[in-house]
């Protein structure tokens, strides 16, 4: 079997357009995961059990069920419940919630690493709970966990092909479509792998750079 470079070059633009969808899903999904993960982490630490317990239950549930099942659930069950969304939006929400559960554990580790004395100093200065969190605790809790959050960014990126299962035409789905039209799978699938590799390496480098910058600032 020979790898046809000319053919690979021809299909690259089509894969590039699909890559935009993949990147979109990753960026939006990660934004959701970062925000929602922090909400979960804070809710779990709440002194009110009616807040802490449901948050803990959601996190454990999401972490204990497969992402693909969650996607199918959102894709097939939500419309029945009356919520109509595009497949991409559904996918973004599924990725976001799934990774939010993992990110919340990372945030939790970061929050727990902030010494109790910091909270107490803030209390002695009569800072309110939100100001303490926003200005004192989070700026110390988050920089050390950026690498761990970054790992989930890469992991999520690599999970985006699952979106093809709910009809999102992302990178892998596009490669399969190209293959089924031309009966040549080697080039499209190989290119998909290569694109994932290159982008994963780039994001890993970006995370390292962010991490270093954060370390220099403190």
């Amino acid at each position: 079997m020979i790898f046809d470079w000319g053919y690979a070059w021809d299909i690259l633009p089509q894969l590039g357009r699909a890559l935009v969808v993949t990147l979109q899903a990753t960026a939006l999904g990660m934004a959701l995961a970062l925000a929602l993960g922090l909400v979960f982490a804070l809710a779990r630490r709440s002194r009110y059990r009616v807040v802490a317990w449901p948050a803990a239950a959601v996190v454990e549930f999401v972490r204990s069920t497969p992402l693909l099942v969650q996607m199918f659930f959102l894709f097939y069950v939500l419309p029945v419940a009356g919520a109509q969304m595009s497949p991409l939006a559904t996918g973004v929400i599924a990725l976001g919630i799934h990774y939010a559960a993992y990110c919340s554990e990372v945030y939790r580790a970061g929050l727990e690493a902030v010494p109790r004395g910091q909270w107490e100093a803030a209390a002695a200065l009569n800072l309110g709970r939100w100001r303490t969190l926003r200005a004192i605790v989070l700026p110390q809790a988050i920089p050390p966990v950026v690498p761990a959050l970054g790992n989930y960014l890469v992991a999520m990126f690599k999970d985006t092909p699952l979106l093809s299962a709910i009809t999102v035409v992302e990178l892998l789905q596009t490669a399969k479509l190209i293959g089924s039209e031309t009966f040549r799978y080697v080039e499209p699938i190989t290119l998909v792998g290569a694109l994932f590799l290159v982008l994963s390496l780039i994001s890993a480098a970006a995370i390292r750079w962010t991490e270093q910058r954060l370390r220099l600032e403190t």
Binding site: P115, A121, A123, A124, L125, G128, A135, T218
Partner: protein
């Protein structure tokens, strides 16, 4: 003005305070001495409202931080009431607890801007004055990691003073310092006490300091105030044998006692 009535506090099964009654009038400087585990730090934590007493009452200027009256009935305090009372008290900690991601100036301006609502420009000007007062006029832009222990504690003192509390608590603030830095911090405390602008409650192992700088000394043992009087009485003519023994033991090895607990 502080008024404590029959204050009790346990951590788990361990009773730490077992009935503390105390009144401290405004602007008095009180040193609290006593062996390790006698409840000195716990007393300060309750006064700072970092912990809640199991039983008994705390009044700061006539108000409980934990209870309030509404429509003539006593009810649990809401956040607003709690913070109003808490704002009357400030504290300096053994381990400084500076905010490591903020400069010295940032540490001193954070609460005045975000709690008292001072305009940032004014808060910075005042913070510079407080930093100058503690001898760190040139360290405003330094981060805590760039400061020595003594300098950190000076920033922490400036930070607490910037909130202009009526009552200031000092929890073994020289215990984590190298010996050569202790004198300077104690002198700063003396200067503050001499101004008579705040009630000061100082937990310390420095008997000479307690004797010369305070109006009054409390000796805590086993979670109770067992002796309470002017420093001359406590140090030279104690009522109890165990007070005398404690004072002598600590005087014999001030450094060891002062630096032993980390």
């Amino acid at each position: 003005m502080i008024r404590l009535r029959d204050l009790h506090k346990s951590y788990g099964a361990l009773p730490v305070l077992r009935g503390v009654d105390l009144e401290i009038p405004a602007a008095q400087t009180v040193s609290v001495i006593g062996p390790s585990g006698s409840g000195k730090s716990t007393l300060l934590r309750l006064l700072m409202m970092l912990d809640r007493p199991d039983a008994g009452t705390i009044e700061i200027e006539g108000e409980s931080p934990w209870r309030m009256t509404r429509n003539g009935r006593e009810v649990p305090a809401d956040e607003r009431h709690f913070r109003r009372v808490r704002g009357k008290v400030g504290m300096v900690f053994q381990h400084f607890n500076l905010f490591p991601h903020m400069t010295a100036l940032g540490n001193v301006t954070e609460a005045p801007v975000h709690v008292l609502g001072l305009p940032p420009r004014e808060a910075r000007a005042r913070a510079q004055e407080y930093l100058a007062m503690v001898g760190l006029a040139d360290k405003a832009d330094a981060y805590p990691a760039q400061l020595s222990g003594g300098q950190k504690q000076r920033v922490a003192i400036a930070r607490a003073i910037a909130m202009q509390p009526k009552i200031m608590l000092f929890d073994e603030i020289t215990s984590a310092l190298d010996p050569e830095l202790v004198g300077g911090i104690l002198q700063l405390l003396r200067d503050l006490a001499a101004r008579r602008t705040m009630t000061m409650v100082i937990v310390t192992h420095h008997m000479a300091f307690a004797e010369s700088a305070s109006d009054r000394v409390l000796f805590l043992d086993g979670g109770r105030i067992v002796e309470d009087g002017p420093p001359g009485d406590i140090f030279r003519n104690p009522r109890l044998e165990r007070t005398r023994r404690f004072v002598e033991a600590v005087k014999g090895g001030t450094e060891a006692a002062g630096r032993g607990r980390q």
